[in-house]
Symmetry: C2
DNA sequence: TTAGTTAAGTACCGGTCGGTGCAGAACTCT
DNA sequence: AGAGTTCTGCACCGACCGGTACTTAACTAA
């Protein structure tokens, strides 16, 4: 491994592919999949359409790569939250993370996976479905974590892990919309506190 | 008033303008503002582009009329809920209404005001802002209702009406996303029950 | 019948969409 | 140096975008 220093043939790429992807991700985040035009994407990436196609394939694959990067970066809080010791701490960390990510000091408000393609025309059905799966996967992982919490006695025996996970996911999605509506982190944190008032002891 | 039977000059309109608007609304609901093309809109409306422009002005005004119709029709639950006798009943009616409207037996899943233009390119910024205002207005009306509930002693003196309203709105938005994700009314009703567990006595 | 008014259908507008063909530039390998 | 390989910039593609000019159809008023 570590061929990164191996000399490669041909003209070397004239731009940082990671930085270009980061910028594309932010455009998709702000505009959604269909709302982001190639002109705006490549403009923000600082490269031409030709270079984008050579490096990423096409717009759809660029979005898929951007979504991967989003999951590993801004949305990593969702995975980290699962490591908290109690179900309540998981829920709190998850929602606080959602608040932080959807209200960055600079950068787009909201959540890429929600803004990406909630509604869309037929051509981008593939992206729409990809995002549905992405969001549902996050819910399933939360559900499994809560199920473990029941096993560990950290949640009451009669608690319904699936239901709790869906509730937390619903709050997360709602937070994304509220962030797009202009609410800031302080206001959203209040909402999170309110949501957890009824959390099973 | 009631000039509807007055004879009007010129060739009579060959389609039902109300029905056409209803169909346009459903296309916007499913596709969002930008995702709905004139071709698809007029196709569903059963008229030509020319007739649409003559009757509604342009795409943006068609959307505004469709949004009005949405507020008076599918989204009327939001206003009706305010008439419930207690704050808790208001919250429950609001969320149950959101569930029903976002999961119709036939017709698009989700909420038109959320799917419409969460993320969008610059050209449709006007529609984006219109929807932000629409959603925020709904929150303000809920807040006022909860404030009244505090005055009437129906909510505890220390309850924060704005915070509660924002929480309920957040749940409503989240429900819209979950509906778009494929959840059905039964599952969403469970989520609503979970959300109201911590509602102030 | 004729003039005036409004709607409908066709054919078209410039602009932008995502995507490419091609020539040349910049590199490695022999 | 020369061949082989890869990336870049420009010009361009057909398709579709929202929107419109113009002719014709269908009505009322005189």
């Amino acid at each position: 491994m570590s061929d990164s220093r191996r000399a490669v043939m041909g003209r070397p790429r004239g731009f940082d592919i990671d930085q270009a992807l980061e910028r594309a991700m932010r455009v998709f985040w702000a505009r959604g999949y269909e709302g982001a035009s190639l002109a705006e994407l490549t403009g923000a990436m600082g490269i031409t359409k030709t270079s984008m196609y050579a490096a990423f394939g096409n717009k759809e694959q660029l979005f898929r790569k951007a979504l991967q990067r989003y999951g590993a970066g801004p949305a990593a809080y969702a995975t980290r939250a699962l490591e908290e010791p109690t179900a309540r701490a998981v829920a709190l960390a998850f929602l606080r993370g959602a608040v932080r990510t959807t209200t960055p000091p600079r950068g787009p408000s909201g959540c890429l996976t929600v803004q990406g393609a909630l509604a869309s025309s037929d051509e981008s059905r593939a992206i729409h479905d990809l995002l549905v799966d992405w969001r549902n996967d996050a819910g399933v992982r939360l559900e499994e974590r809560f199920r473990r919490a029941v096993d560990e006695g950290d949640l009451p025996r009669d608690a319904d892990p699936r239901r709790l996970a869906r509730f937390i996911m619903t709050m997360g999605f709602g937070i994304a919309v509220q962030a797009a509506n202009g609410l800031g982190p302080a206001e959203l944190d209040e909402i999170v506190d309110t949501a957890l008032l009824g959390w099973p002891a």
